[in-house]
Amino acid sequence: MLLSEVGYARPATVEQALELLAEHDGARALAGGQTLVNVMKARAASPDVLVDLNDIAELKGIELGSDGTLSIAPMTTYTELIASPEARARPILGEVCAQIADVQVRNRGTIGGNVCSSDPTNHLPPLMVAVGAEMTVTGEDGERIVPAAEFFLGVYMTAVGPGELLTRITIPAGRSDGFASVPIGRDGTCIVNAAASANGELRLALGCVGAVPELVQPSSGDAEAVKEAVRAANIQPPGDVHASSDYRRHLAEVVAARAAEQASRRAMK
């Protein structure tokens, strides 16, 4: 398909990328392109300039700190994360990335692209909220750190403002996590998903039920307690051809209980 005319630049450093984003009002960062290129085909977005981040070495790679903290650069692809020995320090990350789409998409698609596109059906936004990730956002005036729970602002909107880039995702140590979803076909788009973390108090985040992940903190990992907490959150999920609002609300309880059960089981090991 023919895209609308667009400018293109391929900076080698974050500094150059920020300059380009600041210089062109209609500029958009191009990460793996597995969402943005389709969005451009549909003319749902028509950026004036694409700032391709694929040559920026400082935006790639995963580091594991001595305290178990993971520092993930946003241009890390799903495939790289799945294969990363460092990322196994928090096993849920690779487990969830392996459920995203297909080989080709995982080879190009990036962790940063997944969170920055803030599509409510994406896998990583609820996971980032559940594990308590911190997002480093960099602009020309420097860096700021935004907790994942405050990072997702709306459908396709995040705390990364015009002229800014997500430059790092920091994930605390922990192994007791869970994830469950009802996808459209195996590894397909999620109808409802839930991520849970039982490292310390139980944190649960629901995806696909609103514009941004819904954080729920049940009193325990017991299935009834989790379902009760989801009911108390009074979510108003959208209805569509795949699931009515009521059915999605029901599924939210089911997948929340499954994710919490997996996290709690791992916490007991």
């Binding site: 398909m1 667009v6 391929r10 300059e19 210089e23 392109g33 389709n38 297909d102 080709q104 998409v105």
Partner: protein, 167 residues
């Protein structure tokens, strides 16, 4: 900021790509998708466009050793890359092992998905020379076939790996 030092954004560029061992130099618009460079500019029409939305996988090629869907990449992004397409699988008249296995096991009917299936199968077997049925199924998850029901494709890939398959 010193604007004069900023990197320029371009709407077209002369790029060089190596495809199946041959080097090509072409001027491409920034908006041009890689699949259109391959099919329309270079006349390598083995790679197909099915859905043009990144779902069907008929446009799959191997870019610098990595399996990708060429409708989800800009041609300008492939500047300097080495690409393998379905045309590069056979040597002279000798089909590759995977291609021969597709023929032997009736792994295609209309053939539309076949170039993408072959590239996915080729990429899989390089990484995993002896895949299980489950691993094969997951490896072709990004390739949609509307004819075969996949059974014969899985069989062909398994046979290409040298494993026994039941008929």
């Amino acid at each position: 900021m010193d604007a004069s030092s900023a990197l320029p954004a371009v709407t077209s560029k002369t790029i060089t790509v190596e495809i199946n061992g041959t080097s090509y130099e072409r001027e491409v618009d920034a908006r041009r998708l890689l699949i259109h460079l391959i099919r329309d500019d270079l006349d390598l029409t083995g790679s197909h466009i099915g859905c043009d939305t990144g779902n069907c996988g008929a446009c799959s090629v191997i870019l610098d050793g990595t399996l990708v869907k060429s409708c989800m990449l800009l041609a300008i992004q492939a500047d300097g890359a080495s690409i393998e397409t379905v045309e590069g699988l056979a040597e002279e008249d000798q089909l590759s092992v995977v291609q021969q296995a597709f023929s032997d096991h009736h792994a295609l009917q209309c053939g539309y998905c076949t170039p993408g299936m072959l590239m996915s199968a080729t990429a899989l077997l390089r990484e995993n020379p002896s895949p299980t049925d489950e691993e094969i199924a997951r490896a072709i998850q990004g390739n949609i076939c509307r004819c075969t029901g996949y059974w014969n494709i899985v069989k062909a890939i398994k046979a290409a790996s040298g494993q026994e398959v039941s008929e």
